[in-house]
């Protein structure tokens, strides 16, 4: 529903006057509602606007959002070419982790001394995690996930019943990104899943005999977003020699998982960021495995074609010999 230009001009002028680059929807709402015929004294919220007014407001915001100057006092006078380039990838990850609040540890009173190596400092009684360590730990975890998926391994993402629906959705998405190699336990972990698998888990293929290997396959790697919530899962992974990746906070011993990632375990955004990264790494591993398989198949096909050609050539020679 396109608004008429005549009604847009005064609104646009007012909108531009309100703010330059940072055209927030609240500014637009203020501008629109002032010109709208709302009675005095009534609270001006979304509920009082009609659908047409709301759509008009959204149209204005969408069309005008990218207008306006990006100049500010510091940049108006000097041109800095090095600032126009995109920042290197390490800084991008660091700033994303910082924005997600991954550096915020638990209260220093609840500090586990084994976390000393990655606690950057204490601020207002709260431990701050050194994100440089987090970045290198994340890279290592991503390498592990990629390598496991490349060898057609099973990666299991474990959530927790205390997690919100958005984090559970992120766990499902990460498992989905890994395709047939990705598995998820978004809700509660059933104790005995790994150690009592023959009882709890169904048979994978009905035809496989129990002796040969009809027993349920165990995961090759387990990723836990909040290891402290799953002591059963950690114990079972240790007993079945399954490597684990987990987000450890400053109140947890980092030795409980094989590849700890020091980060805030209570932040939803951190968990989702880490899951997205590991999902991406798994996807790369899958692609690498497919590429290797295709290459091997291509070599195999070429070899078979050569053998066929040689056989045909030998057959023709024998024919000509007989003919002669």
């Amino acid at each position: 529903m396109a608004p008429s230009t005549s009604s847009l001009v005064p609104l646009a002028r007012g909108a531009l006057q309100a703010s330059s680059r940072s055209f927030s929807s609240s500014a637009a709402r203020r501008v629109l509602v002032e010109s709208a015929s709302a009675p005095e004294g009534v609270a001006r919220t979304d509920n009082n606007l009609t659908l047409e007014q709301r759509l008009l407001q959204r149209g204005i915001v969408d069309s005008l959002q990218n207008l306006g100057s990006t100049q500010h006092r510091a940049s108006a006078t000097t041109f800095r070419p090095h600032k126009t380039r995109t920042p290197p990838s390490k800084d991008a990850l660091l700033s994303a982790l910082l924005a997600a609040g991954a550096h915020l540890g638990h209260a220093h009173a609840a500090w586990h001394p084994s976390t000393k190596s990655f606690v950057h400092g204490i601020r207002h009684g709260q431990s701050i995690i050194d994100l440089e360590v987090t970045v290198s730990a994340l890279r290592r975890a991503a390498n592990v996930v990629r390598a496991v998926v490349e060898r057609d391994g099973i990666v299991l993402f474990v959530g927790g019943k205390t997690r919100t629906e958005t984090t559970r959705a992120a766990i499902r998405r990460a498992a989905e990104a890994l395709g047939s190699n990705g598995f998820a336990v978004p809700e509660q972990w059933l104790p005995g899943t790994l150690t009592n698998a023959s009882v709890l888990l169904p048979r994978v293929s009905a035809s496989a005999a129990p002796k040969e290997g009809g027993r349920p396959p165990l995961p090759d790697l387990v990723v836990l977003t909040s290891p402290l919530v799953h002591p059963h899962a950690l114990r079972e992974c240790a007993l079945t020699h399954t490597p684990t990746i987990g987000l450890v906070d400053t109140d947890a011993d980092p030795r409980i998982v094989t590849y700890p990632i020091p980060a805030n375990d209570e932040s939803e955004r951190t968990a989702e960021l880490v899951l997205a990264l590991l999902g991406e790494a798994g996807k790369q591993g899958r692609e690498e495995r497919m590429r290797k398989r295709e290459r091997a198949e291509k070599i195999d096909r070429a070899r078979r074609a050569r053998v066929e050609d040689r056989r045909r050539a030998r057959g023709q020679e024998s024919e000509t010999e007989e003919g002669m």
Partner: protein, 340 residues
């Protein structure tokens, strides 16, 4: 963690004490495999991979059902928010008028992994109810949400019982009228039951008058009409000498403002005096609802029903005489306690 420390001490969990940032990123030996080995595919898995991504939950069907419903819910909220230009939490969702019905827990358990606890069942039905709340909004939003409407309807049909997922509340049986316009209702109290016929006293038409203690009505439309009550073909003052019983009978007419609007003929049997009076009052209240609310097709909260329900005369008083128990003198009375 206290529970994991013994495992660490016993060496069950591998313990690496070197700080993370001082450890080399790659702990592999400095062996460089030949290019053929790098590009070669790895050996196939000894065991096949499970088919369902929720295999390790031990309830794969339930987990995938929950996952599908939650993703559908999120997508529907987003699509509706886009169509109505509102955030998801501000959508004008109205709760359904009656509680919705879904497939029973036992049947759903049989359909899914063979067992289903109450918590996951409630989570599933909660999501279905949320989707049912969004459905009318999605339908009204137009062609932009047409595919979402189809998806939601398919999901609701999958979990609906045979009669549909909307509950139909049991309707009260309508009051019967005969060809003369008389209502016939039954009222009960304790062991008394009263059968009551009520007819409106129209000023124009002559009312069926008979010898009664109350003043007979005038046929002129200017003068107010009087309710005449006959009980077992005898006047009310003869059957109920006590004023409180007579007041109880006329109370429904009084509070509905219908004193003088109806004549009442009652046949009552069983019980005692006040029980019979209350039974007649119950039947009169039901008759009033039939004459006034039913004829005008008013809702349950409108008309005289509202007033009568609030006064409690529409309710059949369930109190009955309690039985005597062994070891007690009466239903509740105990014998005198003796120390020795």
């Amino acid at each position: 963690m206290a529970s994991l420390r013994p495992l660490l001490r016993r060496g069950v969990i591998p313990c690496t004490l070197t700080p993370l940032h001082l450890r080399p990123l790659s702990t592999a030996p400095s062996f460089v495999p030949p290019p053929s080995a790098i590009s070669a595919p790895t050996a196939p898995r000894p065991t096949p991979k499970p088919a369902s991504p929720y295999y390790y939950t031990a309830r794969p069907s339930l987990s995938s059902a929950l996952s599908n419903l939650s993703s559908l819910l999120t997508r529907s909220q987003r699509a509706l928010g886009q169509a109505l230009a509102l955030p998801a939490h501000k959508l004008p969702v109205t709760p359904p008028p009656t509680a919705l019905r879904w497939v029973p827990q036992a049947d759903l358990a049989a359909r899914l992994d063979g067992h289903l606890r109450l918590g996951p069942y409630k989570a599933l039905t909660g999501m279905l109810t949320e989707l049912a709340k969004l459905l009318p909004l999605a339908r009204a939003a137009g062609h932009a949400t047409a595919d979402i409407v189809a998806e939601i309807e398919a999901a609701l049909d999958e979990y609906s019982p045979p009669g549909g997922h909307e509950r139909v509340l049991p309707q009260r049986k309508p009051v019967q009228f005969d060809l003369y316009g008389r209502s016939y209702t039954v009222g009960r109290r304790k062991t008394s039951s009263a059968r009551v016929w009520m007819i409106p006293t129209k000023p124009s038409s002559p009312s069926p008058s008979s010898s009664s203690s109350s003043a007979s009505s005038s046929s002129s439309s200017d003068l107010p009409t009087t309710t005449e009550v006959l009980v077992n073909a005898r006047p009310i003052a003869e059957v109920f000498p006590r004023a409180s019983d007579r007041e109880a009978i006329l109370y429904p007419l009084r509070i509905a403002g219908q004193l003088g609007a109806f004549h009442v003929f009652a046949l009552v049997r069983g019980g005692g005096v006040s029980g019979q009076a209350a039974a007649i009052a119950h039947a009169i209240a039901k008759g009033l609802v039939g004459h006034i609310d039913q004829k005008q097709e008013l809702g349950p909260d409108e008309g005289v029903k509202r007033v009568l329900k609030k006064a409690g005369v529409l309710l059949r008083d369930p109190r009955m005489v309690e039985r005597k128990k062994t070891g007690l003198a009466k239903a509740r009375k105990r014998y005198t306690w003796v120390k020795r």
